[in-house]
Amino acid sequence: MVKMENNKLPRQVYTFLKEKGIREQDVLYTAQTDLNAEGEFADGYLVLTKDVLGIIQAPAAEDRVHSFRGSSLLKAELTEDTVYEEDAQEPDREEWSAQFVEIDRLERLWIENGVGCNLLVGKWEDREHCLTMFTHLQKRSLAKLTRGIEQMKRGGSPDFDAEADEYCPKCGRMYPDRARRVCPNCMDKHNVFFRVFRYFKPYRVNFVIMMATIAVTALLNLIWPYLNGNILYNKVLAKDPEFLSGIGLKPDSFVTALLMLVLAMVATKLVLLLFGILQGVLTARMVIGVVRDLKKDIFRKMGQLSISFYRSRQTGGLMTRVLSDANRITGFFVDDAPFFLVHALTMVATIVVMFAMNPWMALIAVVMLPILFGLNRYLRPRIWVMFGRRHRAERSMNSLINDNLTGSRVVKSFGQEKKEIQRFEGSSRRLKEAEIAISYRQNWFQLVYGGARELASMAIWALGVYFIMSGSGEEMQLGTLITFVGYVGQLQGPMNFFARIPNRWADSMNSAQRIFEIIDAVPEVLEAQKPRRLEQPEGDIELDNVTFGYEVNRPVLKDVNLHIPAGSMVGIVGRSGAGKTTLVNLISRMYDVQEGEIRIDGIPIRELSFNDLRRNVAMVSQETYIFMGTVAENIAYANQGADLKEIMRAAKLAGAHEFIMRMPDGYDTRIGSSGRELSGGERQRISIARAILANPKILILDEATASVDTETERVIQKALNYLVQGRTTISIAHRLSTLRDADYLVVIDHGKVTEQGTHQELFALKGTYYKLQELQTKALQLKGEIGG
């Protein structure tokens, strides 16, 4: 856990190595470990030269802070009474133990993943040795070590390329997404702001009008207390002759003046009301438009992103988050941003007016302001925590309900209604508690904050009354006081606004950033810069030393070599989980291989244009998917232009025609969610029809007929036989009878091709295929024997 720079170990280690006869310049790669065999934190160092692997183990170090990935930021902030590595003494190498393993002797070196701890295991002289142990923190660098040694043993030179930084160089925060390298703290918020602003561009007239109405509203709000207090009480009711003549009335016509004032006040309120409505309408129009435009961009992008993008984020959560992000952004731009200037101006103007009216009272008001402001800033986050809690309680209740609705059949069939009700009660109790906590907090907030506010306004009243009574302030009259208090109240709005604006700003900019992250995301599976076309493909597929794993250190396919000649039909068999689906996913480029290459007609698929690849490779996958829509629409999914006759023909070939015709609305029956339910086999046949209609050069069937009865399967196979003419077909099946027409077969086991050849060849080999075949043909017999 010592901080490493360019994979450098502490000086002591090199001194230690020198004593053991290893020179620093011979070191190719170093890594660290952090556990010992007793399961305690302990430093360890791995050193690789071209001849040996050195494993150094220091004694346990439990009295030190152990920092896992991403926590360096916190480390800088905390100065508790804990000892950090930097402050710790140089390790004492007297107590170190070391083991050196010659690379030549080492047969194999690998990592075994535990739950909280991984082992580095080496094998030599037919024995497996546990070399060292480490947490997941160190896994990446050790995986690199094992890969490097593997490369060395194969006679190549290891590549220990440096990894990309995962911390923001400015503030040390970890990038939320290592691939994107955007620091949420240091990102250019202004840039994001203006980018969002562009979405408002089509509505600029709207926006300008809105700003204008807001400004007018603010102005009128500023005038209101003046009319209501100063003018009403001090001028009109006090029959101030100067005032009357000032507005061009006769000195005694104060009734007219009163009428005019009332009219003016009514007009003011009316304008305020009208503008309020206008603002509402403009806002609604703009929000809907902007959110729609944002979502449109997002959906467009989502279609292009690769599967692993979705796998690394939960899709359901992703969608709701995107939608709420979009709403939050527009909320900020519509509800907050336009008011910024207005509130700032109102605040300044109000304070100036207040000082002009009575400096002493204004001073009190101005002193009270920061106190109230601080109180507001301090108390509110606590309420937000509560809101977060309620949100989580709500979410968990919703997912419970969802679970119960989708799984209602299982619940009922096992008679678990009572237990589910109990679960629900627990969940709804938690929601209730969260609600209660919120209202408790809110009341408390009201009490404290409201109390402080009342106190402030009372102080102003008291001072005002004192001024009036003592007559010291000549300007102070009842009307002035009322106006003044009105202004103090007027300050509340801007104050609340400024108390919450920093959070709203940060939140909305983060939301915006997240959305732009999706809009800007670079798909992991990328189309080549200058894609090569594949207009008239032969359908010849070649896999060359293909290695692939969903996780870095767990290859699912290892060094797979395979050649599937154009026009042939190949069957793939193997145990469940052997990697069959993975293999075909690579051919259709749902994922990119980690090592090796896949070629179609001799062209690496990385260089092919997506359009051509997708058009020429169609897959019926293990998990069928039926879209919302009619049967016909579902079949024509990949070929929108197909006419009804073609759709019908495809359905016939897929053995789907008959059951479709038995449905009341035939090809126009609505299926998919909210539509009619189909059986597993029926869904599969629709999927096959879809692939047939797509008319690809390479057809991949992944357990495409697994849920179909043998008789129907036979029909589909006949149809396929007729169809596969001049087409390359890869068919995966557990039921070997499905593959009886295959030209040859490939057996995959543990991610490797273990056998390949024709039926006869494999049968004669007496390996896995033979075993499977025997098992299936003699299954019944076998069952009888066991039973007896």
Binding site: L35, A37, E38, G39, F41, E62, R64, V65, H66, S67, F68, R69, G70, S71, L73, L74, K75, E77, L78, E80, T82, E107, R108, G114, V115, G116, C117, L119, R127, E128, H129, C130, L131, M133, H136, L137, K139, R173, M174, P176, P184, N185, Q314, G317, V385, G388, N510, H750, T754, Q756, L765, K766, G767, Y770, K771, E774, L775, L782, E785, I786
Partner: protein
């Protein structure tokens, strides 16, 4: 359980390689085909072999001091002798790591696709030395610091940074917010997974101080 137990014909334990070497390195197309007698015999043999394997998959074998001998290999692992079978290295795995960590311990072969050799039903049913040996292996595999004190939790931009004291000393770690990083094993027991999937546990939140629980509020 009929007499299919052990050492069947020429294949013996090597057939499905408890020693590990069979499963890993070689494989290859010619692997299994190489050995074995003539075709006719072979067919019969394969069948009974398959039968045996199926039966073995269904069988539950409990290991205890009478039928099993565990030994340290001196290379950091355990070996196991059950009757005539010998496994130079076994892997020890809990079946119910959360609900009952000292019961139902599965003893497995060390291949990549490991197979269950037997089950130790209760740790208390084996001798102290055996239990200690198994415990050593389990401690490593399930390394999970237990949080005793929460000093600080800071959440920011989608991550929460924790500073805690555990039974293995003070730790700083980072979790992703909003995902499934905090798992409620029961009403009071929490499992926390950091961004690398390192695990931390709070066995009973009621044993924390109110101030510490308040810091946890974000996740409860």
């Amino acid at each position: 359980m009929s007499g299919t137990g052990v050492g069947h014909g020429p294949e013996g334990p090597g057939g499905h390689g408890p020693g590990g070497p069979g499963g890993r390195g070689q494989g290859g197309p010619k692997g299994p085909g190489g050995r074995g007698p003539g075709a006719g015999e072979f067919e019969d043999f394969q069948l009974s072999q398959m039968e045996k394997e199926t039966e073995e998959m269904l069988r539950v074998r409990y290991l205890n001091d009478e039928n099993a001998v565990f030994e340290r290999t001196g290379t950091g692992f355990l070996s196991l002798r059950v009757g005539e079978e010998f496994y130079p290295r076994v892997v020890v795995v809990r079946m119910f790591p959360f609900s009952d960590k000292d019961e139902f311990i599965s003893i497995r072969t060390a291949e990549e696709r490991s197979r269950e050799i037997g089950i130790v039903e209760k740790m208390s049913q084996v001798s102290g030395e055996t239990a200690r040996m198994l415990e050593e292996q389990l401690t490593l595999r399930y390394f999970t610091p237990v949080i005793e004190k929460i000093i600080k939790i800071k959440d920011e931009y989608g991550f929460a940074y924790w500073n805690v004291v555990t039974d293995h000393g003070a730790c700083n770690f980072t979790i992703r917010m909003g995902g499934n990083s905090v798992i409620h094993l029961s009403d009071v027991r929490i499992l926390i997974m950091d961004i690398d999937e390192n695990r931390f546990e709070i066995p009973d939140i009621n044993r924390l101080t109110p101030a510490e629980r308040k810091k946890l509020d974000l996740f409860l």
